[in-house]
Symmetry: C2
Subunit: 213 residues, 2 copies
DNA sequence: GTATCTTTACCAAATGGTCAATCTTATCCC
DNA sequence: GGGATAAGATTGACCATTTGGTAAAGATAC
């Protein structure tokens, strides 16, 4: 980060311009000029606020991940099945429909930078941390559900990892292959393949058990 | 394709040089010059055999996918459980260890171009076709197993799709996040979450049922 | 000799980045 | 309060280098 205590709005505006440019041109064809065009002020101002393209992209990654994580705070005092569904929906469909129309635009950019991470140690680390947060969120929901007796005592690590993987695959498929129904398919698949192992056999758990769909 | 009936070795050499360059520099930093450096002959020869960078990359994608698909022919007269395991292993670990040491190098390049597909209609189509082949292979194995009575009569489309997704997620995780154990985890997860729904309850199927691991 | 293949020298455009000049804003002294 | 002043923010002109691509001259095989 090239910090600049004053004018944080400008930095933020540059971040948003970067998002738009990245969204439109893709990472490999991203020129600083493209960002400049999405930015109301002068292009060279970018160079004043960031130490070159590399620093800009790194900062943007932090910004993108930070945004994603700050939006993914959910209350967890609900019915465990609903909590789990909620988390999965949020990952697959975005936050409460309506608020953010650009959820998939963000996802596209995220996904592209994610693939790019194989060539950048620092980015890889950032994504690893973030990935662990997402998986941890799901693990948390599972753990809470098990404590309540709504879920069977499965291996929360394996299960959360698996769900996270499926979510990521569906997103990748939707984005790279244009499979618009991939998220819905993934939801159904998780319900079909994962939920059974979560559902307890006893009546106690069945009481808070969600209807199959 | 910019066809050239003669000198197909040169074209192939360029494809391999492209692979190496892509592997080393990544798509976004790939210069025609980098390919030239991996290529024994002159750099400009590339421009003689291909109509510019774009055509070169497109041809390379065909080449890469073609290679992948030609290597993935397996006999299917084995035990269905072994056939399924074999297919999954092949996707996750590569063909019989030893032969191709660069399996993951190829995968990395594949994965990167895959992410890139969101920006290129033609590439997206190529990947869609290829994706369908991979999924179709698994569907085929499932269908054969069901006919033999080794598998329960599950929805082969949903199940194959799901397995394919999990495989892709594990590869992505291994490549982008450096999770070396992702493929093994995915194998275990498929065994834990998918195999149960495949295993028939009756003794007939159990006879050819694989031991859990 | 001629058609395919290969190389060398070269180029125009694109691109990340700099620099000095200008505009804004906060600070200080009276 | 008001003007001098310094510090930060912003701009437009400019540049060195990189990069994809070309044209014409050599090879090489048939």
């Amino acid at each position: 980060m090239t910090a600049s205590q004053t004018a944080p709005d400008t930095r933020e505006a540059i971040m948003e311009a970067t998002f738009r440019a990245l969204s439109e041109h893709g990472y490999s064809d991203l020129r600083v000029r493209d960002i400049g065009e999405e930015f109301e002020k002068s292009r060279t101002l970018i160079h004043y606020h960031f130490d070159g393209k590399h620093d800009l992209i790194s900062s943007f990654l932090e910004y993108l991940i930070g945004q994603y994580e700050s939006q993914s705070k959910l209350g967890d005092d609900e019915n465990p099945w609903e909590a789990l569904d909620g988390r999965i929906d949020q990952c697959l469909l975005g936050p409460e429909l309506g608020e953010r129309f650009d959820h998939w635009e963000r996802m596209k950019v995220y996904h592209e930078l994610f693939a790019q991470a194989q060539h950048n140690e620092a980015h890889r680390e950032a994504f690893n941390e973030h990935y662990e947060v997402i998986r941890g969120n799901i693990e948390h929901v599972l753990r809470a559900g098990i404590e309540r007796g709504s879920f069977r005592a499965v291996d929360v690590e394996d299960t959360s990892q698996f769900i996270t993987d499926v979510i990521h695959a569906a997103r990748a498929r939707r984005i790279s292959l244009d499979h618009d129904d991939a998220p819905e398919q993934a939801k159904r698949a998780i319900a079909a393949f994962v939920y059974p192992s979560l559902a307890p056999a006893d009546a106690e758990g069945a009481r808070t058990r969600r209807p199959s769909d």
